[in-house]
Point group: C2
DNA sequence: TCCCCGATATAGACAATGTATATATACGAC
DNA sequence: GTCGTATATATACATTGTCTATATCGGGGA
């Protein structure tokens, strides 16, 4: 409970640090009760302030949702970095583990994940904080993709991802996006139950591993650029 | 205005065919004003009935949303079938065109697409109509995948998708799901503007073609089952 | 033919929410 | 210390989902 250490931060007005308190309460609400429970009045209640206080920090509900979603993005980014941390020298495996961690994050934090890609946030451009947070996430993925591309996809025709050098396709810019699409779609559909099986961490790992292997094979073979 | 031709359908009570009228109004509302405009009272107003009339056909708001989403799924299914219709003898190209049509549908009907995968509908199991509609869509994709698998991915190592025979990977069940994931993720991220370019039909086609080529290559090479 | 019952639609009410306007309070600069 | 401004409150209103009770229509059995 770091919330009581107020009046020492530079922003120490009435409440002390209301904006962060509201975002924190919002995160908790989403995790515990789902996205529909994330209301301006609810976070105000949780922070112990009047129902109009949040308007000093968020012009409307969408801005609050965006701020909470940005925080969720940062958690995802941390999860990805953590998954990659122990594989410094092996960019290819790093990339695969990042993909797996992405799907695992989704099934382990379903409400956060749904929040991040909620239709309410359709235009991220309207919310700079959110745009920056999601850009940070993408840059982690793109960075991993780029490093593994310089190192090169594996040489062996079949089998799991291993380190090896090989030619790189020309579409350097779009391939990370496509890779992201794949793991993202996997996460969404698995969460939605469209796979006909519960969204467990085990299933996430299994599908993600298979999918990344598949994509890796495609990359290795090249696209005829 | 086909709404006045009532009293001839078998369900000709007070309104005539209120349920369909409500779903139709809901579709229009979503398309024109977005998902957040889809309220029970709004569709009731649009149908010219009292704000409680919808409760005779939908137990709550979520059920209405599910019914509208099911209709949207059916439209997507039609779009997929249409894209595949003119390519009867070429299952591989059929599959690719289905994937492209999927992404194109998303960018051409952004609000419908967002509705279909809204977090509000997280548990499709609670809404049989929706579950059946989405299963129909998936079966179209899975069917195309299966036919092209029996025909076999292309032989040539690079280049666009063409008809040719080749060995098939063993993961027959999961591969369609992964393929669906890929085009779905593509659609979602493109719509969200995460690709840093407007979600036009042209971009949809470009990315989808590249992604399906990539996946095709991966499939052709096999996964070492 | 008439009546009655269930399916359908209405009326009114209530709590919760987002948001506008007006007002109060506290911090920090002068 | 005074004052302006950032911060928080109080009050109010429209909109929404949903509950309870009531009204109306239309077809099946007497």
């Amino acid at each position: 409970m770091p919330r009581k250490g107020r009046r020492k931060d530079r922003r120490g007005y009435h409440h002390g640090d209301l904006r962060n308190a509201l975002v924190g309460a919002g995160l908790q609400l989403v995790v515990e009760e789902g996205l529909q429970a994330l209301s301006l009045r609810a976070v105000a209640r949780a922070a112990g302030v009047s129902h109009m206080a949040p308007y000093n920090h968020f012009p409307d509900r969408a801005s609050l949702v965006a701020a909470v979603a940005a925080e969720a993005y940062d958690r995802l980014t941390s999860a990805l970095l953590e998954a990659m941390a122990s594989l410094r020298g092996q960019p290819a495996r790093q990339l695969q583990e990042a993909g797996i961690a992405y799907v695992r994050f989704a099934v382990e934090n379903p409400e956060l994940f749904r929040l991040m890609f909620s239709p309410e946030l359709a235009d991220t451009s309207a919310h700079p904080v959110l745009a920056e947070a999601s850009a940070r996430t993408l840059s982690v993925l793109a960075g991993a993709m780029q490093r593994s591309a310089s190192a090169g996809p594996r040489t062996a025709s079949t089998g799991p991802v291993t380190e090896a050098s090989a030619p790189v396709t020309g579409e350097a810019r779009v391939v990370p996006l496509i890779a992201w699409s794949m793991v993202h779609g996997l996460a969404v559909l698995l969460l939605d139950g469209q796979f006909g099986e519960p969204a467990t961490a085990e299933a996430a790992e299994r599908y993600a591993r298979l999918a990344t292997d598949l994509m890796w094979t495609g990359l290795r073979s090249g696209l005829g650029g």
